[in-house]
């Protein structure tokens, strides 16, 4: 269990950030929505401010713990690009990702977000498990 405290505590900070944005600004902290609106030129100052904050995560982590968080990428460049395209198209088509549907949608007991979360989790499990056998 002790190995999972940072994950639990980190997750709680995600929830706290989402609640702060909801109660103060009245909006959903959904990353694909924020990035998509920024790319579409909608509400640039607000969306850019959130993204700049998001970018400061690893530097703040370094200030606190002395190094960037560990990142290991085993996927080839080609597959990373394919994955990026799928994630970009898919999250905009379904109006949300792991944050908007996964965190706030579930917390709002939204049937739509529940359906989205079950669907992307099942698809993620299917593809990640399949890739294990293709390696």
């Amino acid at each position: 269990m002790s190995a999972y405290w940072p994950s639990l505590f980190g997750g709680m900070l995600l929830g706290l950030s989402a609640v702060a944005l909801l109660l103060l600004d009245g909006r959903i902290a959904g990353i694909s929505g924020i990035v998509g609106r920024l790319l579409g030129g909608v509400q640039i100052p607000l969306n850019a401010a959130f993204v700049i904050g998001l970018l400061s995560g690893p530097p703040l982590y370094m200030l606190a713990f002395g190094s960037f968080p560990a990142v290991t990428i085993a996927t080839s460049g080609t597959l990373v690009v394919v994955a990026g395209l799928a994630v970009g198209i898919g999250t905009r088509m379904s109006s949300g990702c792991t944050s908007g549907h996964g965190i706030l949608g579930l917390a709002r007991f939204s049937k739509r977000s529940f359906a989205a979360t079950v669907t992307f989790l099942l698809a993620g499990v299917a593809v990640a498990t399949l890739m294990e056998f293709l390696r």
């Binding site: 995600l14 990026g84 970009g88």
Partner: protein, 147 residues
Amino acid sequence: MNRLASLRIVVALLAGALFGFGLSLSGMLDPARVIGFLNLASGHWDPSLSFVLGGAVLVAVPGVMLQRRLRRPLLDDSFHLPEKAEIDGRLLAGSALFGAGWGLAGFCPGPAVSGLLMGLVPVFLFVAAMAAGMMLHDRVISGMLPR
């Protein structure tokens, strides 16, 4: 820009920083740990992601309960929340496509964007492709799909 508008930008910046730091702390910036959760055949399943999502929802639920008792947020005239209720083809096809890409490389939008300043080439590649995919959807694909 009036004082309220500036305050809202500061709130967005701080909420983004909290979200980014939370992601770094949670371990979810590491695609290997995300795939370690999604890959059921690895022989050493990593449950971290369930703690992250569980912790986030645990904190978000009381926040949403409080929000429902309020007429408006502190810094705006009204709440801007999704009102759509139907589960349609776009929702399911989009979620399936997103999940497939997520399972393929282990990146979802938040961790990928948040990791950009760490200077890793695959993170840049992913975010560039994701941004292209988002614009492709919003400007081309969305108009071609049935209502």
